[in-house]
């Protein structure tokens, strides 16, 4: 069963799936758990909860899971905290994992802290790195201090150590030869605390940010419709996607799915062009794995210049049109 692994503090990943397709962030977390587990001979378990979701298991095993803990019940078909949290708590008490990872999605952010509170353990939000030490301590790196520093958070005395991680922070891996097993567990459902009346599906436009080779992003420094049209045109000629910083979202220039940074998307394009963005760490952690970062900013002291590869000091209204023309010229030749 789940507790038969002689006192080892194994690593668990809560798997979020929609219509039988696991979420990308869950696969990324399984890959990270696999890496950490291999170093210390631990097992990786994927918690798969839902109704008729058994067919998701092979993907989770290929993504790196040794065990898929499968909990099926018609009442679990949609996520709901009042059932999911106690079910996971029960599982934790039996299996005694060292750590449990959740994607920092709307569901993960609703569920992980609730599970942590029920288990009276620590929960670290939006980690940008996870490391494991020999004695099983999980080192959870988060930006601190309004982003000027990084902090390593630990949960020294309680288990499991619970962490949430955003999409794109870790990279998915694929182990076609990997063997795993599916462990059926019958969930003990507790009393409902609410009635889920309905789930209204909305067709979301998938964000282009994750797949684009080039991303052009604007910040608080780009404050007019004409300015954003310029950025859109630049993104267009580079066949890239358009994104922005938090102020760009707050000011209504971009949609939520286009916000880049700690509380938005983490992306790794080949080229990232930041325009009118000061370079706050809470923004930059979202692009730290970009291959090349170019900054356009009118303030020569803006911190972004030390966090980018190439900097152009100047007003974007002057820089961007020249850049658009030069790119067009290069493409014609």
């Amino acid at each position: 069963m789940i507790g038969d692994i002689e006192g080892k503090e194994n690593l668990w990943v809560f798997v979020e799936q929609f219509k039988g397709v696991p979420k990308q962030v869950s696969l990324e977390l399984i890959a990270k758990a696999r890496m950490l587990a291999d170093r210390f001979g631990l097992r990786v378990a994927a918690l798969l909860i839902g109704d008729n979701v058994r067919n998701v298991s092979p993907v989770l095993i290929n993504a790196g899971a040794d065990d898929v803990f499968l909990l099926e019940d018609p009442l679990l078909s949609q996520y709901r905290s009042d059932f999911y949290a106690p079910v996971i708590l029960d599982l934790i008490r039996k299996g005694k994992p060292g750590a449990v990872f959740f994607g920092a999605t709307p569901i993960g952010r609703d569920l992980a802290p609730a599970v942590a509170a029920l288990a009276e353990t620590g929960c670290t939000a939006d980690c940008i790195d996870l490391e494991l030490t020999e004695n099983g301590a999980l080192l959870q790196t988060v930006p601190a201090f309004g982003g000027r520093m990084m902090a390593v958070i630990v949960t020294p005395e309680r288990r499991p150590q619970i962490a949430t991680v955003r999409l794109g922070v870790f990279q998915q891996a694929w182990f076609p030869e990997h063997n795993g097993r599916v462990v059926d567990i019958s969930p003990q459902l507790t009393q409902a605390k609410f009635d889920l009346v309905e789930f209204v599906e909305e067709s979301l436009q998938p964000s282009l940010l994750f797949s684009a080779r080039v991303v052009v992003a604007g910040g608080a420094g780009v404050d007019s419709r004409e300015g954003w049209e310029l950025l859109r045109e630049l993104a267009g000629v580079l066949q890239g996607a358009l994104g922005g910083s938090r102020p760009a979202l707050d000011n209504g220039w971009i949609r939520e799915s286009q916000m880049i940074g700690h509380s938005g998307s983490t992306i790794r394009p080949d080229l990232y062009i930041a325009v009118g963005i000061s370079g706050d760490v809470l923004h930059m952690v979202g692009v730290q794995d970009a291959k090349v970062i170019v900054a356009v900013n009118s303030d020569s002291r803006a911190p972004i210049f030390s966090n980018s590869d190439y900097g152009i000091i100047g007003d974007y209204r002057e820089v961007i049109p020249v850049l658009i023309n030069a790119v067009k010229k290069k493409q014609r030749s």
């Binding site: 609703d110 802290p113 939000a125 190439y310």
Partner: protein
């Protein structure tokens, strides 16, 4: 309908650089200008609307240093009936679990018959969004997060719409419950001069850890399962090259760089 609203005081944007970390990992915030966490105003606004429709009371709970007092005045001016400040050296350095435990103890003591607790979805300073769900666990109540619409129905029931990844959930929630709300929910009122005057005789009660029967081992830094183990500056690993010359020259130079030229093809 008795509604508790949790309100956090956060450093005003622009005040970040003045915050200092103490050696024990707690934050030194003295002398820093505070504001009410913006989305917590939406939570309060919703509570006031519910009171308007259904009667009852609205109480505000905040945990923080004594400098939070004046901002609780603002919550009273908006229309809250009572305000409680959980303030005690023992509370300092709390992680979300210790924060939730303390807030739950305050609500249980001062508003034992609460129907609803409203929180903001996340604070603008640390923004973990964990306090709502954890508070619910300590209160033994149901919780929902990312609520963008709440309607109070017949018989103890609230219908709540919450945002998910692929759409939204419509939930009938029985009381007592904890709901974390988003800014889309409503537009918070701005108190008038009259409101401010009228709130002057409302009382703010300060609660210590002893009054909440919380031992030191369950409060603040000591009662927090998470600890800050290390702080470091993230190392710069970029070229940080500033391009010089006329604008045309700089742009040409940029497009010649291998990492940039490569993606133009």
């Amino acid at each position: 309908m008795h509604v508790a609203v949790c309100v956090k005081m956060v450093p005003a944007p622009g005040q970040w650089s003045r915050i200092v970390f103490r050696d024990d990992g707690s934050l030194q915030r003295e002398g820093i200008e505070l504001i009410i966490n913006p989305v917590d105003r939406n939570a309060l606004e919703e509570a006031l609307k519910i009171r308007q429709a259904r009667g009852g009371t609205v109480a505000v709970f905040s945990m923080g240093p004594p400098s939070c007092l004046e901002h609780l005045r603002e919550a009273l001016a908006m229309g809250a009936d009572r305000a409680f400040l959980l303030s005690d050296r023992n509370f300092a350095g709390a992680d979300t679990l210790a924060t939730s435990r303390a807030l739950a103890a305050g609500i249980k003591k001062e508003m034992p018959g609460f129907d609803l607790v409203l929180c903001g979805s996340a604070s603008i300073d640390s923004g973990t969004a964990q306090v709502g769900p954890q508070l619910a666990a300590y209160l033994g109540a149901a919780h929902l997060t990312e609520a963008f619409s709440i309607s109070v129905g017949e018989q103890n029931c609230f219908q709540v719409r919450t945002a998910g990844s692929h759409g939204y959930f419509v939930t009938d929630l029985r009381k007592p419950a904890v709901i974390s709300v988003t800014k889309q929910l409503n537009k918070p009122r701005i108190p008038t001069l009259f409101d401010i005057m009228a709130s002057c005789n409302k009382e703010i009660i300060i609660l210590s850890s002893a009054e909440l029967s919380l031992p030191k081992s369950e409060s603040g830094l000591e009662g927090s399962p998470t600890k800050v183990r290390e702080l470091f500056f993230s190392p710069a690993r970029r070229l940080a090259r500033i391009l010089e010359g006329s604008m045309e020259d700089r742009v040409e130079e940029l497009l010649r760089q291998p990492g940039v030229a490569g993606v133009l093809k």
